[in-house]
């Protein structure tokens, strides 16, 4: 039976009337138009559909939309401000971390969640955090470099503050 569900996506509230069998990935993409979340495997193994739920990365293909009620959902569309891209988005551009782009939204959101809790991760920590996000084009190297670059920027700011 269809249910009325309120979802909070990128800071805005949305009302949808959906079957409980609808996945978060489907509702985001089909009902709300957030097609930036890609669906690659439908079984949680590839990471393309990653979104943030209360700041933590989850697989939107393995969550019922009804499970996301009351939680803050962040998709790739919610990362940039009016004025500027998120530093990770800019770093992915500058460091050539994008090829076909299908894994990119999930990669960036997963990296964002990492930097939110650990602003200065080591290369190893970045690898660990991104280990579940598959990419078939880049070989990951430039992705890791992009995340390291944002981390290093964070460090510089910290240094400035201390200075």
């Amino acid at each position: 039976m269809k249910q009325q569900v309120w979802l909070k996506v990128n800071g805005a509230d949305y009302e949808v009337f959906i079957e409980p069998s609808r996945l978060l990935s489907e509702v985001l993409r089909e009902d709300l138009g957030f097609t930036g979340s890609k669906v690659g495997c439908e079984e949680g193994e590839c990471g393309a559909c990653t979104v943030l739920l209360d700041g933590a990365p989850v697989r939107s293909c393995l969550i019922l939309a009804v499970q996301a009620k009351g939680k803050a959902i962040t998709t790739i569309e919610g990362l940039a401000s009016e004025e500027a891209l998120h530093p990770l988005q800019q770093a992915f551009i500058d460091h050539f971390a994008v090829q076909c782009g299908f894994c990119t939204p999930g990669m960036i959101l997963t990296a964002k969640a990492l930097l939110d809790v650990n602003p200065n991760p080591t290369e190893e920590e970045i690898r660990q955090a991104l280990a579940g996000n598959l990419c078939r084009c880049t070989g990951y190297i430039k992705i890791i470099e992009a995340v390291l670059a944002v981390k290093n920027k964070g460090k510089a700011t910290d240094g400035d503050r201390q200075g």
Binding site: P20, S21, G132
Partner: protein, 298 residues
């Protein structure tokens, strides 16, 4: 749009209500916790429940509690990443945090729950071996109240548990004594993020006066229909000195013999058996490395 069969999504708010719904709908209902295993099965249509009973609105299932003298109580809905990062778990039973870190990817761990990991009853469940060696108990809530099942008796077969009609797993209890135990969890996969081809946990108490390990527990996963304790191997390791190490290989071999691995697409039985021996060895090495010795004995 999903190709899952449609179902009703129920959100009971109390334990009693959950049990009542489970009893009423019986086989046509499934409990959903994180859903990371269940939804895959439903998408593949190997499970087609008509009712999904969510535990998310039931109070008290999301907490990790330490009760002095009793131990840890971990609610069924505690996520694997909460276990991975919980300060109290890191302090009292770090092996659970280590094992949690090996479950799937971070995004899966953020949704997957301890209850789901155990109730899915996969022989390869990474949380099972450490809980087995710590003599954890499953706290099961039913129509007639709660009962505790020692975890060894909880798993009855691949995908099967000893939960009865109207009953669900409310949490896990890890005894107080666990925090003084030396523990290790090790795992082998094909790549870093993988379902275990074999996983192993070892727990023991270090008796400093005799420089030996007692109360040895060894648990193996993915090499039998359920995660299980390798009792024969435990006997071989019991009371052994940490100075000698010939017994470690012996123990590993005994565990490998006790394992009943199958051939499947992930690995052959041969390979799994060989890995049991290695993992048991590595786990004991880790355990021994944790034994606190005076400086001159190290």
């Amino acid at each position: 749009m999903s190709s899952m069969k449609s179902f009703d999504y129920l959100e009971p708010t109390s334990t009693a209500e959950v049990c009542e719904l489970l009893a009423r709908f019986d086989d046509s209902a499934r409990v959903i916790a994180g859903g990371t295993d269940l939804l895959v099965a439903m998408k593949r249509r190997s499970l087609n429940p008509l009712k999904l009973i969510s535990l998310s609105k039931v109070q008290g299932l999301k907490t990790i509690e330490y009760i002095p003298g009793l131990g840890l109580r971990i609610g069924a809905l505690v996520s694997i990443s909460d276990i991975q990062f919980s300060p109290i778990i890191k302090e009292k039973v770090p092996v659970l945090a280590h094992a949690a870190a090996k479950v799937g990817s971070q995004a899966i761990r953020n949704m997957a729950t301890i209850g789901g990991n155990l109730c899915n009853a996969a022989p390869s469940a990474d949380m099972a071996p450490p809980l087995l060696v710590l003599s954890a108990q499953a706290l099961c809530s039913g129509l007639t109240g709660d009962r505790r099942i020692i975890l060894e008796k909880f798993f009855t077969g691949p995908g099967r548990t000893s939960l009865t009609k109207g009953e669900f797993l409310a949490g896990i209890e890890v005894p107080e004594t666990s925090s003084s135990r030396l523990c290790s969890f090790v795992k082998v996969g094909r790549t870093a993020v993988d379902i275990a081809l074999v996983n192993t946990a070892v727990a023991a108490t270090f008796e400093y006066p005799r420089r030996c390990l007692t109360g040895v527990r060894i648990a193996l996963g993915a090499v039998g229909p359920v995660p299980f304790r390798s009792v024969k191997a435990e006997v071989l390791a019991e009371g052994r000195s940490i100075a000698a190490d010939g017994w470690i290989d012996e123990t590993g071999m005994a565990a490998a013999e006790e394992a009943q691995p199958i051939n499947d697409v992930r690995a052959s039985a041969d390979y799994r058996r060989a890995m049991v021996k290695l993992l048991v060895r590595d786990a004991f090495r880790n355990v021994i490395a944790q034994a606190i010795l005076p400086q001159d004995e190290r």
